[in-house]
């Protein structure tokens, strides 16, 4: 066991730090506005030009073929430099792992480079009004037609779908509860999109209505009827790792420590606790990366990470508000977003069920 970075890893860290110091953007408007969305895309195109938008991807798709450890290093530097959240994250962190594993070579070549470059921005269209936690209850369906499929139904709470160019989601291709689901990608053109404002008043969500939207055969990911398995395999391996990297929490803990310098000891103690927990998440993630690099699957253990980081994020932002009172303006958006952590990517109640049943072996 060691925590020593190799000379190559240290050199990579310095390269990233140096590049970010020179290119880091000023604070951008919210990505949930038309102008903010455009500004974020431009920033991510700049990242992509330096081949820093998806460092762990193969070079042919715009990455650097870097290890997961390098990716963690990149993320630490990215957040420490104060860079913004990624508008392309659902594509890069949720769709891409599925594409790498289950996509055809042609699908990978067509979509991954454009995703890395921020040319295509993907929205995740899983939830439906009557199928949230119980995702397999979804009723949107796909019907075969010459050359492809026609999509029908109603998806909702899709992040950034108001401005995204493409979407991906599960659609029913037969009646079987799990086996009847197929994983589709589709262009957003043709989908009726209604923006839904989130707690901050901005259209961060959208509702999508499909009334026979055409998508070609080449947009089916994996086999027909295999959608559930594909979606679950990638959520479990990514949930604990790539969705929220430790760098983000370490940077937040540092900002909190600054705020807590002259604070009352009880508040400063909470800042110390947040720092300890951010480090715990970082160290745990190094262990996770090692296991993934050795070819192990994380499986249901990934749910532990999701519970841990989302609740840490909540505590950190609640503390910032307690420290700052009515001067908390720069933390407000982060606070509102932290409230969503225990809900999205599978609610924490659902994650606790998974941990209890599939990690600890308790009866259903």
């Amino acid at each position: 066991m060691d925590l020593d970075f190799s000379p190559a890893e240290r050199a990579f860290r310095l390269e990233v730090r140096d590049w970010l110091a020179r290119h880091r953007p000023p604070p951008l408007p919210s990505m949930d506005t038309a102008e903010g969305f455009a500004a974020h895309r431009a920033w991510e195109a700049e990242l992509a030009a330096a081949r820093l938008s998806a460092v762990s991807w193969p070079e042919e798709y715009g990455g650097r073929g870097a290890s997961l450890i390098d990716w963690l290093i990149f993320e630490e530097e990215y957040w420490a430099a104060g860079c913004p959240a990624r508008v392309t994250q659902n594509g890069i962190f949720l769709l891409a792992p599925s594409l790498m594993r289950y996509g055809t070579p042609e699908q990978r070549e067509r979509h991954l480079p454009r995703m890395a470059g921020g040319d295509d921005v993907w929205a995740q269209a899983w939830s439906e009004p009557e199928a949230g936690s119980d995702l397999a209850a979804l009723t949107s369906r796909a019907e075969p037609c010459p050359g492809g499929w026609r999509l029908y139904g109603h998806k909702t709470w899709s992040s950034r779908a108001a401005f995204a160019t493409h979407g991906f989601g599960l659609f029913r291709t037969s009646g079987a509860r799990h086996k009847g689901l197929t994983y589709f990608m589709f262009p957003m053109a043709g989908v009726a999109v209604r923006p839904i404002a989130q707690l901050d008043g901005l259209p961060g969500f959208a509702e999508l209505r499909f009334d026979g939207v055409f998508t070609p055969d080449s947009m089916v990911l994996g086999e027909v009827g295999e959608g559930w398995r594909i979606a679950m395999a990638t959520t479990s391996s990514e949930r604990g790792l790539t969705l929220r990297s430790p760098g983000r929490f370490l940077a937040t803990a540092d900002r909190l420590a600054e705020l807590a310098r002259d604070a009352d000891p009880a508040l400063a103690d909470r800042a110390a606790r947040c720092r300890i927990e951010a480090e715990a998440y970082q160290l745990h993630t190094f262990g996770t990366a090692r296991r993934l690099m050795a070819g192990e699957e994380l499986g249901p253990a990934a749910s532990m990470g999701k519970i841990f980081w989302s609740e840490l994020d909540l505590r950190m932002h609640a503390l910032a508000l307690d420290l700052l009172g009515d001067r908390a303006e720069s933390w407000v958006d982060g606070f509102l977003f932290s409230l969503a952590g225990p809900i999205y990517a599978g609610t924490n109640e659902i994650q606790r069920n998974i941990v209890a049943e599939r990690v600890l072996g308790l009866p259903r």
């Binding site: 060691d2 190799s6 715990a280 109640e349 069920n353 209890a356 009866p363």
Partner: protein, 314 residues
């Protein structure tokens, strides 16, 4: 960077675990003061951290960390950390340490009473930054009430003592990390025993482990253990470095918290049977409380971290 234990480190832990399963079963906690010590000594356990010149193996703290976790998991009585971890750094010149023939007790700074001092052939008392070592015959002990029946506390008075010429800080940091490892082992055992109970105890015609209110408490313990352990691993790796004290404090605060959470949940889920003297669970509960206060409380260690992170940087 490779943040995982190697085969040797894991194999040592597996050996210690086997020995403790056989020679320190829960029943022995009621009848023996020092179960399994002879067998551990036979394995060379007390010489693992001693230099080769002192008949030891010269291992680093991180090499024995998983094995120390096992001593916590088994709720092993006796001054394990003091004899196997502190003594090698402060008393390497004392003959027969490696064979386990000398049992060592420690009274750390900030603590009123010495745990397990009744077993100690040599007692190290740390006061005002310096340490003194006192042989058994010069010590007078008065028992004091504590929570842990297998880790009795004593008020210590002594006549003659020898000053120890070496700095004690590094040895205390190692003891803190080793105790944190034991707390993680304890928490793992509390979790696993409680999961086992929740699967077999039925109420309302169903195993209580099928109720979500029970499941979620156990899931929370599992998550807390999963994320406290790596802090302890790091502390074992960095104990010699500039950040050693700070990392030891982060580890001890997290481990103390997780063990007391695991104890709290274990008791709640066992219900009234858990609140009895009859059930072996009581030993693990008591150890979680007593070790979370040993070598600095959770609050004291968190305060050290607070100072470290909010102190003005140059």
């Amino acid at each position: 960077m490779n943040f995982g234990f190697n085969d040797d480190q894991l194999a040592l832990a597996a050996t210690v675990r086997d020995v403790l399963r056989t020679h320190c079963p829960p029943g022995s906690l009621r009848s023996e003061r020092r179960p399994a010590w002879e067998q551990l000594a036979g394995l060379g356990f007390f010489g693992l951290l001693l230099p080769e010149a002192a008949d030891g193996l010269g291992l680093a703290l991180v090499d024995v960390l998983p094995a120390l976790e096992e001593t916590g998991r088994a709720c092993l009585p006796g001054p394990v950390v003091e004899t196997a971890v502190v003594a090698p750094y402060l008393l390497a010149d004392v003959p027969k340490l490696a064979s386990g023939a000398v049992c060592v007790g420690v009274l750390p700074p900030g603590q009123a009473y010495a745990a397990d001092a009744d077993l100690a052939d040599l007692l190290i008392v740390v006061r005002d930054g310096g340490a003194r070592v006192i042989p058994r015959r010069d010590v007078r002990l008065a028992p004091r009430r504590g929570v842990d029946p297998c880790r009795p506390l004593f008020e210590v008075t002594f006549s003659r003592s020898e000053p120890l010429p070496v700095p004690v800080g590094p040895a205390l940091a190692r003891a803190t990390v080793a105790t944190a490892a034991q707390l993680v082992g304890l928490a793992r055992e509390l979790l696993s025993v409680t999961v086992g109970y929740a699967r077999v105890r039925t109420q309302f015609g169903a195993p209580i482990g099928s109720f979500q209110a029970v499941k979620h408490q156990l899931a929370d313990v599992a998550v807390a253990v999963e994320f406290a352990a790596p802090l302890v691993y790091r502390a074992a790796l960095t104990v010699e470095s500039d950040s050693g004290d700070r990392d030891a404090s982060a580890a001890k605060a997290a481990a103390g918290e997780v063990a007391t959470l695991a104890a709290r949940v274990a008791l709640q889920i066992h219900g009234a049977i858990g609140y009895t003297e009859e059930l072996d669970l009581r030993f693990w509960l008591a150890r979680a409380w007593s070790l979370s206060a040993a070598y600095g409380t959770t609050a004291a260690h968190r305060e050290r971290l607070r100072t470290a992170i909010t102190g003005r940087r140059p």
